[in-house]
């Protein structure tokens, strides 16, 4: 706390110098349209710590139903950490502590009565590196429905698997080899398999942590198309390094800088006339 106040002072002292314009003001308040009516998820004053180190500072933002919100920002700005705190994946990290409120349909997901298993069934996740289970394609998709008891019969399960693969646009490519290992697919196919696996349990929100960073442009284009299709049924929060991707797939864009949420605005506005100079500096390529 002491350090924070000390840092605030230095930031204030240096305000006059134009060179220091890109420094983050400690008293920074997020600019733009942070809040919306009837949000699917809403975050209030979220702080995340790794041991003594603070990674996220006072982030407050809403995610509307069926929107795609992109989170951009330079490396190490905390966007992945923030995303992982939305379905409590940070619980598995030793020494990670989350403060503040994260509400899903009005319920705090960090409340001690909430079961993290239920939460993760409602808020699914797709990771940076494709990580299919070393099992068959069918087993990969069927795993979620099986552990949550979603399928009443074998026929049900087959339907869920087929439906998920179709939604993920993978059905035509793999229908002949459902029982071969999922790890034998190409990188792009594996990532679509992971998306199919995530939507097989019909989550309400899907978190995507740089889902295309390990893929080639064609596979990336395929996944972006898929995100657009999925946004009709799901709420999607996507972290990405590629500003073009954010511009292509998202309705709103959130810009993070050194653990702070700087600006949230409709994507078009962020990329054409950003409100904050840091956002502008980033999207025009002055750093990042």
């Amino acid at each position: 706390m002491k350090e924070a106040t000390a840092a605030t002072k230095t930031a204030k002292d240096s305000k006059s110098s134009p060179k220091q314009n890109l420094e983050v003001d400690q008293a920074q308040v997020t600019v733009g349209n942070r809040f919306c009516e009837n949000p699917k998820m809403s975050m209030r004053d979220v702080n995340v710590f790794y041991g003594d180190k603070q990674a996220i500072y006072d982030v407050s933002v809403d995610i509307a139903k069926n929107e795609v919100i992109a989170m951009i920002g330079p490396s190490g700005c905390g966007k992945s950490t923030f995303l992982r705190s939305l379905n409590r994946m940070n619980d598995t990290v030793d020494g990670c502590k989350v403060e503040g409120e994260v509400l899903l349909d009005g319920d705090n997901i960090y409340h001690k009565n909430l079961d993290v298993v239920e939460l993760r069934a409602r808020v699914g996740m797709v990771f940076q590196k494709p990580n299919p289970f070393p099992k068959s394609i069918f087993e990969n998709i069927a795993y979620g429905p099986k552990i949550h008891g979603l399928a009443d019969s074998r026929v049900d399960l087959d339907e869920i698997v087929e439906g998920s693969l179709k939604k993920a646009g993978l059905w035509e490519e793999v229908k002949e080899r459902l029982h071969q290992p999922g790890t034998g697919l190409s990188g792009g196919q594996q990532q679509r398999l992971c998306i199919a696996r995530a939507i097989a349990v019909s989550p309400e929100v899907i978190l995507m942590d740089e889902p295309c960073s390990a893929l080639d442009p064609i596979a990336t284009a395929r996944i972006e198309e898929l995100i657009e299709e999925l946004s009709q049924n799901f709420t999607i929060a996507i972290v990405t390094h590629s500003m073009q991707q954010a511009a292509r797939v998202s309705n709103r864009t959130a810009y993070f800088h050194l653990g702070k949420l700087i600006e949230v605005n409709p994507t078009e506005q962020v990329f054409t006339m950003p409100e904050h100079q840091l956002t502008e500096a980033y999207i025009t390529g002055r750093f990042g």
Binding site: N87, R120, A121, G124, F127, N131, F133, Y143, C194, R197
Partner: protein, 408 residues
């Protein structure tokens, strides 16, 4: 341009050197494998060429008269009579009949030494199975004494070892040989009997069964406990001073000399819990303690080697931690865990020191009767034999000794 030509030339020059060192390295590998194979081959040839004698034992043919008066019994159904009957009298009279010219106490005593001490009991068992033989005479091959066996085998090989026989005994064997009443037969005792004070009666059955039971117990106890401990420490326990302390102690236990575990077993299981000495359960418990650190350490390494992305994927799907472990971590870590279990078991199988301390050394003639009570264990038995027996008899024990070498 000239610079890049130079580089190309340098790379070309280095190619030769690199391919030479690769060839050399391959050669080293082949030589290493050849040495290993040669050692194994030498070991096997040595064992088989020296030890094959133990598969045969010397038998002498005599006419046995099952005389009820001589035995001092009236009925075969009466167990107490059978217990008290003078079974040795049968073999003694059979030998006297065969060599009717022998007279005098000394000579007769030497004559009786032709046959093994236990042949009387063999005849008893035979008679109980075939009660009609009572009062009849039957020609039967009976097991010869170990000294006779040693002499006869060495004599057949052309280098007679007669230091332990009298001149008369040598003559008798010669006589028997000419009549064709002495021969080598398959040594069934070796595989069907337990240990015995008489080398010719000794077998490895008791020791092998003892080892098997002890090992089964060890595996059944140490594998589940070890794997459960490893999973808990790796997946569930929070990282704090206490778990660090446990981890250090487990690693230290792996380096404790095995004889210390024997002392612990003696103090705790036998002296405190009063488990009887020499039962496989004590051996199993002590060996369990000994193999646990090995299994825990290898299992933890196996669990650690499961990629974290698989855990994340499962957690992200909403699997509980238990489901993550059961469905994803365990199947991937199992081969590594089994390797650890095999190493641990091999270590336990060859372990002698702790078993010495807890007294798994009882001599047993017949294994099955004592099954629940007493069991000797292989490694100890074999380390004990060469000292217990006279040197020429080593040959008899070459085969078991091989098992011993093998298990150590």
């Amino acid at each position: 341009m000239s610079n890049s030509m130079d580089n190309l030339q340098k790379i070309k020059n280095s190619l030769k050197r690199r391919s030479r060192s690769e060839t050399r390295f391959r050669l080293y590998g082949r030589v290493a494998i050849a040495i290993g194979l040669a050692a194994v081959l030498a070991l096997f040839v040595d064992i088989v060429s020296k030890g094959h004698g133990a598969f045969k034992a010397t038998y002498i043919q005599v006419d046995v008269h099952y005389d009820a008066d001589l035995l001092g019994i009236t009925s075969l159904a009466d167990e107490s009579q059978l217990m008290q009957a003078n079974w040795d009298a049968l073999t003694k009279s059979a030998l006297r009949n065969k060599f009717s010219e022998v007279s005098g106490r000394r000579d007769k005593r030497q004559l009786y030494k032709l046959l093994s001490n236990g042949t009387g009991f063999d005849l008893k068992e035979h008679l109980v199975v075939n009660p009609l033989l009572l009062g009849e005479t039957e020609s039967k091959w009976l097991l010869a004494d170990d000294d006779i066996d040693t002499y006869y085998k060495s004599w057949l090989d052309g280098e007679p070892y007669d230091a332990r026989l009298s001149k008369k005994q040598v003559e008798w064997i010669d006589q028997l040989h000419q009549q064709g009443h002495i021969r080598l037969q398959l040594n069934t005792n070796l595989l069907t009997r337990g240990d015995s004070r008489e080398p010719e009666q000794a077998g490895i059955y008791g020791a092998v069964m003892g080892s098997l039971l002890t090992l089964m117990l060890t595996l059944m106890l140490s594998f589940p406990i070890g794997v459960a401990a490893a999973i808990y420490l790796e997946e569930f326990a929070s990282k704090n001073r206490f778990t660090d302390f446990i981890e250090v102690n487990i690693n230290n236990l792996a380096a404790v000399p095995s004889i210390i575990f024997g002392l612990l077993g003696l103090a705790v299981f036998i002296n405190f819990f009063h488990v009887p000495r020499s039962v496989p359960i004590v051996g199993g418990l002590v060996l369990t303690l000994m193999t646990l650190p090995t299994i825990i350490i290898t299992s933890r390494a196996a669990i650690k080697s499961v990629p974290p992305s698989i855990r994340e994927a499962a957690l992200g799907m909403g699997a509980s931690r238990y489901q993550v472990v059961l469905h994803h971590v365990l199947p991937l870590a199992l081969p590594g865990m089994l390797t650890g279990a095999i190493i641990g078991m091999a270590q336990a199988l060859g372990e002698t020191a702790p078993l010495l301390i807890i007294g798994l050394l009882h001599l047993l003639r017949i294994f099955l009767r004592f099954l629940p009570i007493l069991l000797p264990c292989c490694p100890y038995k074999f380390s004990y034999w060469p000292i217990a027996q006279r040197e020429p008899l080593l040959k008899r024990h070459q085969l078991p000794l091989w098992y011993c070498c093998h298990s150590c």
